[in-house]
């Protein structure tokens, strides 16, 4: 039976057609993957499906009935449930309160907390989704949060579950567990729309796959009858995948030395006795599930957190007690995780955004005075060198697309030609062209002798660029291994807290079983 059918869904924004005549059919009990690059239109389609956004054209048919979703309530009523990428949970409420929120049991406007807990417990048991019903959600691990999100939909009798990039915050092993849950839900008759940009996940769990590119459906395939290569071609319109770029030549002397660094945040140990070094002409990748101390480590290197213990040396000088400004004087540069929040001033123009950091010395500052004309020239030079698409240096950078804004950030930081770069999620949420260009810049920087600490939750990025890879779990570095020895599954085991030796042994065992380790 057909659970959901979209036909001709079109949504236009002032500057772009986000969805262009998208049609899609999902059967009952089917896991249907929706795959595409960033900016292919997945997010818009999901927003339409869940009633946040109304399509300009096209129809939605759920269970044989035509529907118009004006808001999420309509979508929920029609039997759709949504599991968001970055969990939409209330931190200070309990698991039970989160699940029943908006459809609370009780009479006369009061909430019956006991009934809520009982109902959630029963539901959790039925689908094998164990959760601590009475606990506040704020400190629960991400795997549990995801189960809470799924329970929220099931509590509302969802027949069609939409999972938006659900594995982004999971280790490969946790992802496997999630896939098992998805399969058992499908067996129980639920339909699942699984949104992702990762090919291997599609192959692992989906029955069918619909590929989006530039707002259009480029293919609708049965997973068993296709190959990753074919899907990839439909996604990108070409055969190539991002190429691997490895360092050439021997790395030089250490530029960044982190020794036994421990950071405490809000009474919890965020970084736990971390030691690592990055040398000239080397990219060291830091792999790990988001929230395992990578951002705290980057902030500690940047001088934003006081250390509980340990030392940090930059370009041979002890930087432990120095603030961000002094560390930058030593040669530290930084691409922060969020380009809007910490990487740029979106309301400021490109001149301002590119001059920051250069404004204290010649040529931009001469005899104590800034030189406005040279600031403009400086911006134009960086814009040209890094191929930023922008109408002119006086344009506010907040109006740029994600990829171009990120290029502004990269241009500013790499333009210093400083010895050290800490790059956090340098390509998150940007289109494939920008990814390629940014990876190229990082590679060239390395070739010029730059030292890069690359922090990324995108495993493929770490594997493609790094010479050595450190894996972080709960604030600790599990191991630092040469790129040649690293495989996704080995890193995945360590990302889940399995010590290096054990992980290596497990890898060897599964290889011996004859299956190629995935």
């Amino acid at each position: 039976m057909r659970a959901l059918e979209l036909s001709g869904i079109t949504k236009r924004y002032p500057k772009v057609v986000a969805n262009d005549g998208i049609s899609l059919a999902v059967e009952q009990g089917e896991i249907h993957a929706l795959i595409g690059e960033n900016g292919a239109g997945k997010s818009t389609l999901v927003s339409i499906l869940y009633g946040f956004v109304q399509p300009d054209e096209g129809t939605i048919v759920v269970g044989g009935q035509r529907r118009d979703f004006k808001n999420p309530t309509d979508a929920i009523a029609a039997g759709l449930g949504m599991v968001f990428q970055n969990f939409n949970l209330f931190p200070e409420l309990t698991v039970a309160e989160n699940v029943v929120f908006g459809a609370e049991p009780g009479r006369a406007g009061l909430v019956d907390r006991r009934a809520a807990a009982a109902e959630v417990n029963a539901l959790a048991e039925r689908y094998g989704l164990q959760v601590p019903v009475g606990k506040r959600v704020e400190h629960l691990p991400v795997g549990v949060l995801q189960r809470v999100e799924i329970l929220k939909s099931l509590y509302r009798d969802a027949r069609i579950l939409i999972l938006d990039e659900p594995t982004g915050v999971l280790t490969p092993q946790e992802s496997e567990a999630l896939f098992a849950v998805m399969r058992s839900l499908a067996d129980a008759g639920k339909s699942i729309i699984f949104i992702t940009h990762k090919l291997d996940e599609v192959m692992a769990v989906a029955d069918r796959v619909t590929v989006l590119r530039d707002g259009r459906v480029t293919a609708s395939l049965v997973t068993a009858e296709t190959s990753p290569r074919e899907i990839s071609r439909h996604m990108t319109g070409r055969d190539v995948e991002l190429s691997q770029r490895l360092g050439r030549g021997e790395p030089g002397e250490p530029v960044l030395e982190v020794e036994g660094v421990t950071v405490e945040l809000d009474g919890r140990t965020a970084v736990d006795d971390v030691t690592l070094a990055v040398r000239r002409g080397e990219i060291v990748g830091v792999a790990g599930v988001a929230g395992n101390g990578q951002d705290a480590l980057a902030a500690a290197i940047g001088g934003h957190h006081a250390l509980r213990a340990g030392r940090i040396r930059i370009a041979g000088t002890d930087a432990t007690g120095l603030d961000n400004r002094r560390r930058r004087d030593l040669g530290f540069t930084h691409i922060p995780e969020d380009r809007h929040v910490a990487g740029s001033a979106p309301l400021g123009d490109a001149v301002l955004n590119l001059a920051v950091g250069y404004h204290r010395s010649a040529p931009l500052r001469v005899r104590g005075l800034l030189q406005p004309k040279r600031m403009v020239e400086h911006a134009e030079r960086l814009i040209r060198r890094f191929g930023v698409k922008i109408a002119g240096p006086a344009v506010a950078v907040g109006t740029l697309s994600g990829g171009n804004l990120q290029k502004i950030v990269v241009a500013r930081e790499l333009g210093h030609d400083a010895p050290l770069l800490v790059a956090e999620q340098p390509t998150r949420g940007v289109d494939i062209g920008a990814i390629e260009s940014i990876h190229g810049e990082l590679d060239e920087y390395r070739a010029r002798g730059g030292a890069v600490l690359l922090i990324s939750s995108e495993l493929s990025e770490v594997l493609n660029l790094s010479d050595r890879i450190a894996v972080m779990f709960e604030g600790r570095v599990m191991a630092v291994i040469p790129a040649a020895e690293a495989t996704a599954s080995l890193l995945g085991l360590m990302m889940a807290g399995v010590p290096y030796e054990t992980a290596l042994a497990e890898e060897a065992a599964s290889a011996a079983e004859g299956g190629t380790a995935r």
């Binding site: 309530t73 939409n88 009780g106 406007g109 009061l110």
Partner: protein
């Protein structure tokens, strides 16, 4: 002189200055819980004070005056909710401009309607009298406090209890708290954040209007320009200090009211009037700094910059 600190008259004065603070504070608290930073409390109360007295003078009834005070408070609150919630304007800037607008409008209307400047006081205006309880009112120390309560005093007590129950027990209260924590998350479950936010701001208009009526019809029967005199800001601070919880809010406000009462009473012992004027603000500032210092020492999060 020290007996002033525990004299029944001091506590009667405490009650009189607490009632408007509490009504306004509950309004601020519900906004805080729904995630709206309400900087217009000052303007809401001032509008209520003007509306209350003007209404009573014009209609001859304090009850009608109180109703007009509510309407005035709600009008001011709805301009805040339109600007801040519908148009998404900066809540601080909108709040400040609304406050100044109310200062201007009340002086303008004072002159346009009554032809006076500065203050309005007409003999024989119907005010809200304190209610004398037959039995309990005779109890020595408690009695003097109870006997200073007007009808609005009892409204304030009921509203406090109701607010606590509403937030902790009701469906709507749970949803309102959820909107305050993560409006986006509430929206995904079909709860409209802007509806809850608008409702909370309007409730603060009702409560703030009542607070104003208590100022101009309860404690005294007169209106003076800018009569709210920064109380709205004290309430803003108190809500921050109490972090949006009802009982701590009552405690913080009671402390302010006590300092206020003691300061006023000490004037008859030669304390300069300026000290009494400044006392509540000094105490507020000290409390703000002290609590932030304590939280910092405990390693928790300090009252963050708004």
């Amino acid at each position: 002189m020290l007996e002033i600190l525990i004299a029944p008259e001091t506590f009667a004065a405490l009650v009189r200055s607490l009632v408007p603070l509490l009504l306004l504070g509950l309004g601020g608290l519900i906004c805080h819980r729904v995630g709206v930073f309400n900087v217009s409390l000052e303007g809401i109360m001032l509008a209520g004070a003007f509306g209350g007295l003007a209404g009573s003078v014009l209609t001859g009834s304090a009850i009608a005056g109180t109703a007009i005070a509510i309407v005035s408070g709600v009008i001011v609150a709805s301009s805040l909710s339109f600007g801040g919630i519908v148009r998404g304007a900066d809540p601080i800037v909108i709040g400040i401009s609304v406050n100044l607008l109310v200062v201007g409008l009340t002086s303008f209307l004072l002159f346009a309607i009554f032809g006076v400047r500065g203050s309005l006081q007409q003999p024989g205006t119907d005010g809200l009298d304190a209610i004398r309880l037959p039995g309990l009112g005779e109890v020595p120390w408690l009695g003097s406090m109870l006997n200073s309560l007007t009808a609005l005093g009892y409204v304030a007590i009921l509203a406090t209890v109701a607010m606590q129950l509403y937030l902790s027990r009701t469906r709507s209260g749970l949803r309102l708290r959820g909107v305050g924590m993560r409006p986006g998350a509430a929206a995904t479950l079909g709860i409209s954040p802007s509806r809850y936010q608008t409702a909370a701001v309007l409730v603060s208009g009702v409560l703030g209007g009542l607070a104003g009526a208590q100022l101009s019809l309860g404690n005294v029967v007169l209106f003076t320009e800018n009569m709210s005199a920064g109380r709205g800001w004290i309430v803003v601070v108190a809500v921050l200090l109490a972090n949006g919880r009802v009982l701590p809010l009552v405690g913080v406000l009671a402390l302010f009211a006590y300092v206020d009462a003691v300061g006023i009473r000490l004037q008859s012992f030669g304390l300069p009037v300026q000290f009494a004027d400044a006392a509540p603000y000094i105490v507020t500032l000290i409390a703000l700094v002290a609590i932030a210092a304590l939280r910092r020492r405990r390693g928790g999060i300090a009252v963050a910059a708004a």
